[in-house]
């Protein structure tokens, strides 16, 4: 089991392997700790491997990370709500941004902004325009542009109505609307 921690590429699948052999026995594993992977089934499935006799002839094909059902012992509710967040935190939350009349779209990572004000600054910078002041009643005053977004349900929504965190998780793409169409969004009707 040497090198368990240091080899991130060696997925140390041997350690998580379920064998019909006794878990205490070490002879075959000590020899094979540099091996990459035995045959695996898909992530998340409880898998059973053949006995140690086959250990030597396994292929060194890269495989997905082995996961044992129920290990480490964590409640699913917690896993679903914290682990997935962590991954999101690392990979970023890129959404497309379109502007009416522009020839091509852009992409921004919503994760890097602390809130709406920073987002608007970035958009103003990217598209060379001014967005104006948000008000619940009138949308964006003082400019020809209004930022809108498409949410999870596919509806076109005005940016700024909901708390930032909620916006970040429901925004699928951004659209900067221009002109009369834009002001139409903000009015009370």
């Amino acid at each position: 089991m040497e090198g368990v921690m240091s080899h991130e590429s060696d997925l140390n699948l041997k350690a998580t392997e379920l064998r019909l052999g006794l878990p205490g026995t070490e002879e075959s594993t000590a020899k094979n700790n540099k091996r990459a992977s035995p045959e695996l089934v898909d992530d998340g499935q409880l898998f059973k491997l053949e006995s140690d006799a086959k250990a030597g002839d396994r292929e060194t094909a890269p495989a997905s990370k082995a996961q044992i059902v129920g290990w480490p012992p964590l409640r699913s509710y917690w896993k679903n709500n914290v682990q997935s967040k962590k991954t999101e935190a690392e990979t970023g939350n890129y959404v497309k941004v379109s502007m009416d009349g522009a020839p091509y779209l852009r992409k921004i990572d919503l994760k890097i902004y602390m809130g709406y004000s920073e987002l608007f600054k970035a958009l103003e910078n990217m598209f060379q325009l001014t967005i104006g002041e948000y008000s619940e009643r009138e949308g964006y005053k003082g400019s020809d542009y209004a930022p809108a977004y498409e949410d999870k349900d596919g509806d076109l929504m005005l940016v700024g109505d909901v708390p930032w965190e909620m916006f970040m998780s429901s925004c699928k793409r951004l659209r900067i609307m221009k002109g009369s169409e834009a002001t139409g969004l903000g009015c009370g009707a």
Binding site: M1, E2, V4, M5, E8, N12, A15, T16, L18, L22, P23, G24, T25, L46, K65, I68, V69, G70, W71, P72, P73, L74, R75, S76, Y77, W78, K79, N80, N81, V82, Q83, K85, K86, E88, A89, M114, G115, Y116, S117, E118, P163, W164, E165, M166
Partner: protein
């Protein structure tokens, strides 16, 4: 002695009852009821709180007939390993028959606490409509209901004091359940809906908080933004326990400053949790004003706060007794906890990355805590690696552990330095901690550890074993040695028929035994079931791995046995065979 005996006989029942009123622990009451018939009778009519650790050990009818005056019932359903997806959802543990029986039996139910049970909307509606004095509902890791059920509780329980939902996936029916609390409801003391995914009507929530002047505990969900939280706190400065909801907003805004001010008013808050979204560190300082009073802090959902921000927060918390945190705190951060939180009794460190990328906490953090926190008695520690030397040190520093649970991310990892099994380390723990009641072990472990456990762990009640041991001897040492063992759960370990059948009577002294992916065969299970009629021996065949053939030699994938007074259960699904 004789005159003392006759003195007791002259005590009228009212006196006995009055004396028994001082006995709150169900174990004490159980003991008392065994003394003699008259004590049994007095006790049973006066018992108001009943605890049932396995809902299939007894039937609702027998419960009601023995304890007709029951007001508070605690029930546990699925086996513990159900928490880790080892038990299918529809295995059982339905609360419906209990509620139906109590309704029929005219029980004046006031409090219901359920763990790992299946609760339907129908059950909640029954509860809300048939028990006019119902006051308290606590559900932990349950499932099967929607916000419609919650609406029924909110609408109909006129004297509701407590509604506490912990780690439950509740289907959101968008029915504005929170708005169903009538204006006349002012009795709430505790409201915890942190786990709900849906929206709540913020105005209703604010009004509810404003009129419930006795509200002590409030844990909101992610849908409550900072400005609403701030308004709520202004209405409820008497709060003792707060769950903040998402807490992940733009901290430059005016709301943030208002929040900080509101926090300063809340001088009674001693317990804090929440932080459900990826928290940007800039919001955290808002809670600094209350940190010095905190005895309990739960940051286990706060993904995205990194070590230095966590540490800054914890430096303010010198009265902390209970801390739940992610391993992003690191060994250094745990060192700060050790030097700041001298009152610490319980620590839980959860893995931020279960694929074990970066070694966030190691044995060093654990040793630091044990050295700095002499009152530590309960730990749950997920770590990348461990050593015997560290565990021996921990055992020396903290002989007061009641609960000791260690989970190495790699379940069979040996001592990181010596490559030896971790037998000696865990052995030191059981030898030193004479009051140890609960133990979970992991890492490379042989039968030797189980020999130590059998010899030294005299008070042990619950033991969890995974990927450990060499032979049947290991399991035998435990069953033979641990006189107070109540729950034993084993997975992926080479224990088989010989160990299972060695002392069958032992299982009647225990609540339950779980064995999965071990070496037990169908034949042995059948033998056990046949010889021990007061045990239910259940085989869970959820992936059709077993055929209902007579091949007694086939290995059993999942076996769960438990003592019971009421025989095989009638609600077992197809994939559960009761032998």
């Amino acid at each position: 002695m004789r005159s003392f005996q006759s003195m007791l006989n002259y005590f009228p029942e009212e006196v006995l009852e009055h004396v028994f009123d001082f006995l709150t622990s169900h174990r004490d009451r159980n003991a008392v009821s065994l003394v003699c018939k008259s004590w049994y009778t007095v006790e049973r009519f006066s018992r108001e709180k009943v605890f049932i650790g396995n809902c299939y050990a007894i039937s609702p009818e027998r419960l009601i007939s023995r304890f007709p005056r029951v007001r508070s019932l605690t029930l546990k359903g699925k086996p513990h390993f159900a928490d880790f997806n080892l038990v299918p959802h529809d295995w059982g543990g339905y609360v419906q028959p209990w509620i139906e029986s109590m309704a029929k039996g005219g029980v004046n139910l006031e409090e219901l606490r359920l763990k790992r049970m299946l609760v339907s909307d129908e059950s909640l509606e029954l509860l809300a409509n048939f028990f006019p004095n119902f006051k308290s509902l606590v559900l932990v890791s349950c499932e099967g209901f929607t916000t419609d059920g919650l609406a029924a509780i909110a609408s109909n329980c006129r004297f509701l004091r407590e509604l506490d939902l912990q780690e439950i996936e509740v289907e959101d029916r968008r029915g504005q359940w929170l708005s169903c609390f009538p204006d006349s409801c002012t009795s709430l003391v505790s409201l915890n809906f942190a786990c709900l995914k849906g929206e709540v009507n913020l105005a209703s929530l604010e009004r509810l908080v404003a009129r419930c002047r006795n509200l002590r505990s409030l844990r909101v969900n992610h849908a409550v933004p900072i400005d609403a939280l701030q308004r709520i706190l202004m209405q409820a400065p008497q709060l003792v326990d707060l769950g903040t909801g998402s807490f992940g907003q733009d901290p430059d805004s005016d709301s943030y400053n208002k929040l900080e001010t509101a926090m300063q008013q809340c001088t009674s808050i001693t317990s804090l949790s929440g932080f459900l979204e990826v928290v940007t560190a800039r919001c955290l300082p808002a809670v600094y004003p209350i940190c010095r009073h905190l005895t309990s802090l739960n940051l286990s959902y706060a993904a995205g706060i990194y070590s230095d921000e966590l540490v800054k927060l914890i430096r303010h918390c010198n009265k902390l007794e209970r801390l739940l945190v992610l391993d992003t705190i690191g060994d250094k951060g745990l060192g700060v906890v050790a030097s700041t939180c001298k009152e610490l009794q319980e620590l839980r460190v959860f893995p931020s990355d279960i694929h074990g990328g970066n070694a966030a906490v190691t044995e060093e953090g654990l040793v630091a805590i044990s050295a700095g926190c002499p009152k530590l008695n309960s730990i749950l520690y997920f770590c990348q690696q461990m050593t015997n030397a560290a565990l021996i040190m921990v055992a020396k520093n903290c002989p007061n552990f009641i609960r000791f649970r260690l989970a190495t991310l790699n379940p069979t990892i040996p001592d990181a330095v010596t490559m030896q099994p971790l037998d000696e380390g865990f052995g030191a723990i059981v030898k030193s901690c004479k009051g140890l009641k609960r133990l979970s072990v992991s890492g490379l472990l042989t039968d030797q550890l189980f020999l130590y456990i059998g010899i030294y762990a005299e008070q042990l009640e619950m033991l969890s074993i995974a990927f450990a041991g060499d032979s049947d001897k290991g399991m035998f040492y435990v069953l033979n040695g641990c006189k107070k063992l109540k729950k034993l759960e084993i997975r992926d370990s080479p224990f088989g028929d010989v160990a299972l059948l060695e002392d069958m009577g032992k299982y009647e002294t225990m609540r339950s035994l779980w064995m999965s992916s071990c070496e037990v065969t169908l034949g042995a299970c059948k033998t056990l079931a046949q010889k021990m009629p007061r045990l239910n021996v259940e085989i869970i065949n959820d992936s059709d791995q077993m055929e209902a053939s007579d091949d007694d030699k086939q290995r059993v994938e999942k076996m769960y046995l438990y003592r019971t007074l009421v025989g095989p259960r009638k609600d077992a699904p197809d994939f559960v065979w009761t032998l």
